[in-house]
């Protein structure tokens, strides 16, 4: 539905968006994820019409958007600051866009009440924005931007100002509302957890470029670069040299002199090519005794334990000095844990547990 074609945006000599081509489908929940300053907000503002591309063009439902001003676009935006009109009541805030459309009064009233129900704000209709809580304000902003039934809803860090618990609840609410209304949502966020939770597809951005676009599980399981692997969640990156030793199978020699590792990889590497092995801590098993039959086994000493309640992350130092993180669920009481600081442990993982990435 939305097509970015070789879009470049420059502010002075700063390039915010660099030759970007991407498509967003109808009824999709699409997340733009990246660190601050990566150009994700600029992309969204171009969709809303507040910025125009320096080069290239943006198509919405096949139509070039460049000459269309923001007030004529079938897109609505939920602002990071919510941008609720402080002089208007909640009801009037939601009705604002409908009134501009010249909708008849009874229809406006129906639509506003419908939005109030959807966001569970009926009780607050006559209050002013400063008389309600942050979470309620956020819902008003959502209701206001959905009231006009936009084809495309843009959400700029919509949950940034909420505390964690409320944010999680709201994430599910957002998904719910997206399903109910069938609107295409594009969300901008720097919170990877949020992007993974709500979105059906995630685009990871850096320096005005899109590094990878895929579903949340593919982004997590098969990142296409060290940047993506590192940005999303926790990861161990092992630098090494790949040597093919079978079909889609490689032996990876550690740069810092450990026994080589067995890795399966669908992408091919040539003999002696340097590579990175990215492996998630939860895919590394930690044992007090040496396990048998594992594809990869290394010995190390526990350096640190990060206790997260349901999980613990163990930082294990190998004889070479490299540190590997392993995560395991705390299925037992902490007092009955088999190992603690300074203990010698064995880490193991399968040949398919990690992703082999080109250097």
């Amino acid at each position: 539905m939305i097509q970015f074609q070789n879009v470049t945006k420059r502010f002075g000599d700063f390039t915010a968006i660099d030759d970007l081509t991407i498509g967003i489908y109808e009824k999709e929940f699409f997340a733009l994820l990246g660190p601050s300053g990566c150009g994700k907000t600029t992309m969204m503002r171009m969709l809303a019409g507040f910025e125009t591309p320096t080069e290239g063009s943006i198509y919405l439902a096949g139509q070039d958007m460049a000459p269309v001003p923001p007030n004529k676009r079938a897109t609505n935006m939920m602002f990071q600051s919510y941008a609720l009109f402080p002089h208007l009541s909640i009801w009037e805030n939601i009705a604002f866009g409908l009134k501009r459309e010249g909708m008849a009064k009874p229809q406006i009233s129906d639509r506003v009440n419908e939005m109030l129900r959807l966001t569970r704000l009926e009780k607050f209709a006559s209050r002013k924005p400063h008389q309600i809580s942050g979470g309620q304000r956020q819902r008003v902003a959502l209701a206001r931007s959905l009231a006009k039934k936009p084809k495309l809803l843009l959400l700029d860090e919509p949950l940034g100002a909420l505390d964690k618990k409320l944010r999680q609840d709201t994430q599910f609410e957002l998904m719910d509302i997206q399903e109910k209304t069938g609107t295409t949502f594009v969300i901008v966020t720097h919170d990877q957890e949020e992007a993974m939770t709500v979105a059906s597809r995630v685009a990871v951005m850096d320096n005005g470029r899109i590094i990878q676009v895929a579903t949340p599980d593919r982004i997590y399981e098969t990142p296409n670069s060290v940047y993506v692997a590192d940005f999303i969640g926790e990861v161990n990156i092992i630098d090494g040299i790949a040597t093919p030793n079978g079909e889609e199978s490689y032996s990876v020699a550690w740069k810092d002199g450990q026994a080589p590792l067995n890795v399966k990889s669908p992408s091919s590497f040539s003999d002696g090519q340097s590579c990175h092995l990215a492996i998630r801590p939860e895919k590394v098993t930690i044992n007090a005794e040496k396990p048998t039959g594992a594809d990869n086994v290394v010995e190390g000493k526990i350096l640190d334990i990060a206790y997260l309640g349901n999980l613990s992350t163990y930082h294990v130092e190998l004889p070479s000095g490299a540190v590997i993180k392993a995560q395991s669920a705390n299925t037992r009481r902490i007092s009955r844990r088999a190992f603690t600081w300074e203990d010698t442990v064995w880490l193991s993982w399968t040949a398919t547990a990690g992703v082999l990435l080109a250097a």
Binding site: P70, T75, M77, F79, S81, F85, P86, H87, G97, R100
Partner: protein, 294 residues
């Protein structure tokens, strides 16, 4: 407790000494009669005859006189009219200036603010005299217009109401600009974007968002101009003509030309009572603004 009391007492003592006491004196004079004496009114308080004899000689004769001679109410009305029109003119000139200042790049704003305040560095009287030089028949403005060929005869501006309006708008402009600027500067740019996003054109976003959100600034600016202009004396007497009727001028003439202090005091008391209404409204506006900010 004592400290708080002292803190509150100081401004009240100040008001008492510099406002209430002079007011009581003026009010007393307004109840007196004219006399060929120095000071030119009677009675004076005399310990020998006592307070009752003194009070019995006071009356509201001068206030009654104000209602009988139509000069006075015409002057009040004319002052109200001039104050209202010039407040509106100042708003029309000041709002765009404040808007431009608030939209200017951050690094320019301090300089622009300086330029607005700069005229205060010279004496108010000198600036009004400068306008006399500009607006007179042989003044700079007429010379310039004759030179460019826009007019063939010099325009008579000085000593008309037009000159008074020009002078008032010029003098009171900063009082209008500063509160509006303060309101506009606080305005969140994303509100305008939100309005546009929801279907407003630039102009309707301005009417529906910018204007309502700078309302307190507009009201404050209007009162800051209206209240002093109502009693303005210097500008109408220097720039205005004989037909410019303002109560400040009448007041001055009663005091110094007629030496009728009691009537002049009565004029002043009525003017003060008239001013209390907008001052109370202004205070209420300020209070509402403070509450909204909390």
């Amino acid at each position: 407790m004592m400290r708080r009391f002292t803190l509150i007492a100081i401004p009240y003592l100040w008001l008492l000494a510099l406002f209430l006491v002079p007011f009581v004196i003026v009010f007393k004079i307004s109840l007196s009669d004219v006399a060929l004496a120095r000071p030119p009114y009677t009675p004076h308080f005399d310990w020998a005859t006592g307070i009752w004899a003194f009070l019995s000689e006071l009356d509201f004769e001068n206030f009654v006189f104000l209602t009988q001679d139509d000069l006075y109410w015409k002057a009040y009305l004319s002052s109200l009219k001039i104050a209202a029109i010039s407040t509106l003119l100042t708003l029309l000139v000041g709002y765009p200036m404040a808007y431009a200042m608030a939209r200017a790049p951050q690094e320019w704003r301090a300089t622009l603010m300086m330029l607005v305040i700069l005229p205060f560095w010279t004496s108010f009287l000198i600036r009004v005299y400068a306008w006399m030089g500009i607006l007179s028949n042989e003044g700079f403005l007429n010379q310039f217009l004759l030179w460019t060929g826009v007019i063939s005869e010099p325009l008579t501006i000085l000593n008309t109401n037009t000159a008074v309006y020009i002078g008032i708008v010029y003098t009171y402009l900063p009082f209008m600009i500063l509160p509006i600027y303060a309101a506009l500067e606080r305005l969140d740019e994303s509100l305008i974007e939100a309005a546009e996003d929801l279907g407003c054109s630039r102009l309707s976003a301005f009417w529906l968002v910018t204007i309502p959100l700078s309302k307190t600034g507009i009201i404050a600016g209007c009162f800051l101009v209206f209240i002093p202009v109502l009693g303005e004396f210097v500008i109408p007497s220097l720039l205005g003509g004989s037909d410019t009727l303002m109560i400040g001028k009448v007041l001055w003439e009663e005091f110094f030309s007629n030496r009728d202090w009691p009537v002049a005091s009565a004029v002043a008391v009525v003017l003060l009572l008239l001013l209390i209404i907008p001052i109370v409204l202004f205070q209420r506006n300020q209070q509402k603004q403070q509450e909204a900010e909390q």
